[in-house]
């Protein structure tokens, strides 16, 4: 009963949109390297670096815009490092991904302790959060207003990117080169394209978008940095990416479902379900979704 109520309330979906934002940004970023033939499993670590940089920048410069820029730059840097090892040194992308994830936890915790002197989390009124923006022309208490009004800029950006990236991937020259790089790099090379450059660009964009995702995590809810705060969201984003096979619309659906599960878990907690139990929900839902999707795909091919 409660569950049905939950599903039909507008505020639920509003919350889902907020929860989805970091997942969507990271997954869409991952789509770039995915189409370029690289599976970047370091979405998690890149997000974490972005989150830390955003908090630090916001704190030191006293405003959220600085935080966003900080997140972007950190993401760009780590994305380029990924590109350096994978594209230039031809290191296995999986090893580099794992290394970045581990490095992210260590380095951000180290930096948090070194810079702010705290061990587990850093929060301070000096950290400026992202501001919510109403959409001009839509009153805040109308249906649309509640649903999509008064979100942060990053949420709007993430939603707009879905159709934009779809067009980019499938209807522009860049997108065609990008996908050719992943599908048949020799074809592009012998036609005069530069697959290495494309992979570098994809890595950089991936990094930036994960940096933004991390920025949202840190500055979009509670304005703080907590050790290892991404808590597996990067992997949920990865799951959405795989589930959507790089198609932005399908990725949107994937992150929506996971966002719903996450929102559900918060709801469960307020209903008295023990918190740790409730928190397991998104991960369990993700695993089940992955299993179902692959089972269906398999059936299609064996028919």
């Amino acid at each position: 009963m409660e569950f049905i109520e939950f599903l039909t309330e507008l505020t639920t979906y509003r919350a889902v949109l907020r929860i989805m934002t970091p997942l969507l940004l990271a997954a869409l970023g991952g789509a770039f390297t995915y189409h370029a033939g690289i599976l970047n499993i370091a979405l998690e670590g890149q997000m974490l670096f972005g989150a830390f940089a955003a908090v630090t920048a916001s704190y030191y410069f006293g405003n959220a815009i600085a935080g966003v820029i900080g997140g972007i730059l950190a993401g760009l840097l780590i994305g380029l490092i990924f590109g350096l090892f994978v594209v230039r040194f031809k290191t296995d992308e999986f090893i580099v991904g794992i290394a970045i994830n581990i490095l992210a936890v260590g380095a951000t915790t180290f930096a948090m302790r070194a810079l702010f002197g705290v061990k587990a989390s850093f929060s301070d009124p000096g950290i400026k959060p992202l501001i919510k923006i109403p959409i001009p022309g839509i009153p805040s208490d109308s249906f649309l207003g509640i649903l999509i009004g008064n979100h942060t800029l990053l949420t709007y950006i993430s939603l707009l990117l879905v159709p934009l990236l779809f067009i980019l991937f499938y209807y522009t020259r860049f997108g065609m080169h990008l996908r050719a790089t992943g599908e048949h790099p020799e074809a592009l090379e012998t036609a005069g394209g530069n697959t290495s450059l494309i992979q570098w660009i994809a890595s950089a964009i991936n990094g930036v978008m994960c940096g933004l995702a991390g920025t949202y995590l840190a500055l979009g809810y509670l304005s703080q940095f907590v050790k290892n705060m991404t808590a597996g969201r990067g992997f949920i984003a990865l799951a959405a990416l795989l589930f959507g096979a790089g198609n932005p619309f399908k990725i949107f659906i994937g992150t929506f479902v996971f966002g719903l599960a996450d929102s559900l878990s918060i709801r469960f907690q307020s209903l008295g379900v023990p918190p740790y139990f409730a928190l397991m929900v998104p991960y369990i839902v993700t695993i089940i979704a992955l299993i179902f999707v692959s089972a269906r795909q398999k059936k299609r091919y064996t028919m």
Binding site: D92, G232, F277
Partner: protein
């Protein structure tokens, strides 16, 4: 020198190469670490000195280091077994937690058993818990193609949350300041190896498993089959080896090793399960396996190296201002350099293999993969008619 089954000279040369690469990576990491320490406002020499002394400077320190290395060696073996067999197990952390809680449950709640039964039982149940928390994910991979990398990673979070729930609610020791179980019964204690400190028999178990697993992988039929499946599953199927079954088995065994590691930590060091038991041992195990070249014997020195870093890191933090997380930073840097130096690495033989195989088959025109497969030789020449 038949016993080595390879040209001894070749092995030594190969080993020297890799050894050299690892050493140079470590040196590079130390230099970068020194830079970081310096930027942070501390004296690198003092910091490193503290690191060395607190990890190796006295017999107590060494004992502590060996004790800290124990779970690392086991998670390293966990990852080694998995990757060698072509199975991606990132769930070592979660499997360790499950093994730990299982071992704790057996240790706390099963009463009336003599130590000679209680202890082994707890260890076995721990390993079993790890097995159970791993194998099904590979089953889904074999049956439906569900990528086990993502599922085992997510399973970590589930395991950690689940066990945390258990020790903060049903299994919570009354009056405890944080989530933990009651103390395990003495009959389930792992005997200590030293009078003061935490070094226990678990360390010996870990070391002997390194040797045992080496023999299994390189001198038994099971090992041969796992290696074949890991480096070329298509060949294995063609030869008649049941690939899926072996992969599931390998995943399960891999999880069992991590679970055993968790149980050893509970039974030998803390004697109860405390929430947030592991500072990331499972993930460290993956790095250890990579540095060890996926060789069980190599896991031992690499596990010890990480143990030194961790043990020393704590000491360094106590003596200076430098946060102990520097160890993690150094670990990652080492991996970056080692992996990059070897170029397309030998670490993931099977992934590397598949890439190269496909390239070579394509070049030869023998890849039976769809439409464009030109044949290299189809001579209509020199007719006999």
């Amino acid at each position: 020198m038949n016993w080595f089954n390879t040209n001894l000279r070749d092995i030594l040369v190969g080993r020297m190469n890799r050894f050299g690469q690892i050493i140079s990576a470590i040196i590079l990491a130390i230099i970068i670490g020194a830079l970081i320490i310096y930027i942070n406002g501390d004296d690198p020499l003092v910091a490193y000195q503290a690191l060395i002394i607190s990890s190796l400077g006295s017999s107590a320190a060494i004992a502590s280091t060996l004790s800290k290395s124990t779970p690392l060696i086991l998670t390293g073996l966990c990852a080694t077994i998995a990757f060698r067999s072509g199975v991606i197990n990132i769930g070592g952390e979660g499997q360790l937690y499950m093994g730990a809680i299982a071992g704790a449950i057996v240790g706390v709640y099963i009463t009336g058993l003599p130590a000679i039964i209680h202890l082994p039982l707890a260890l076995i149940v721990g390993a079993l818990a790890g097995f159970i928390w791993a194998a099904p994910f590979e089953w889904f991979k074999v049956k439906y193609g569900t990528d086990e990398l993502v599922t085992t990673t997510l399973a970590n979070y589930i395991a950690i949350l689940f066990t945390t729930y258990l020790v903060t609610n049903p299994l919570l020791k009354p009056g405890a300041p944080l989530g933990m179980t009651r103390n395990i019964l003495p009959s389930a204690y792992l005997p200590k190896l030293v009078s003061h400190g935490q070094l226990n028999v678990g360390f010996l178990i870990a070391v002997s498993l390194c040797v045992i697993l080496w023999f299994v992988f390189f001198r038994t039929t099971l090992g041969y089959e796992l290696r074949m499946v890991g480096s070329n599953p298509r060949f294995s199927r063609y030869i008649g080896i049941s690939v899926g079954f072996r992969q599931i088995l390998a995943m399960g065994l891999s999880g069992a090793l991590a679970g055993l590691g968790g149980a050893i930590v509970v039974l030998g060091i803390q004697h109860r399960f405390i929430q947030n038991l592991s500072p990331g041992w499972g993930f460290d195990g993956i790095l250890i396996a990579l540095l060890a070249g996926l060789n069980p014997l190599g896991v031992l020195p690499m596990g010890l190296l990480f143990g030194i870093l961790k043990s020393g890191g704590l000491g360094m933090e106590a003596a200076t201002n430098v946060p102990s997380e520097l160890s993690e930073v150094l670990q990652s840097i080492i991996i970056f350099f080692v992996a990059a130096e070897i170029g397309v690495t030998m670490f993931f033989r099977w992934r590397n293999n598949q890439k190269v195989q496909v390239e070579e088959s394509l070049k030869m025109g023998t890849l039976d993969e769809g439409v464009f497969v030109p044949s290299d030789q189809s001579s209509f020449s020199d007719g006999e008619e």
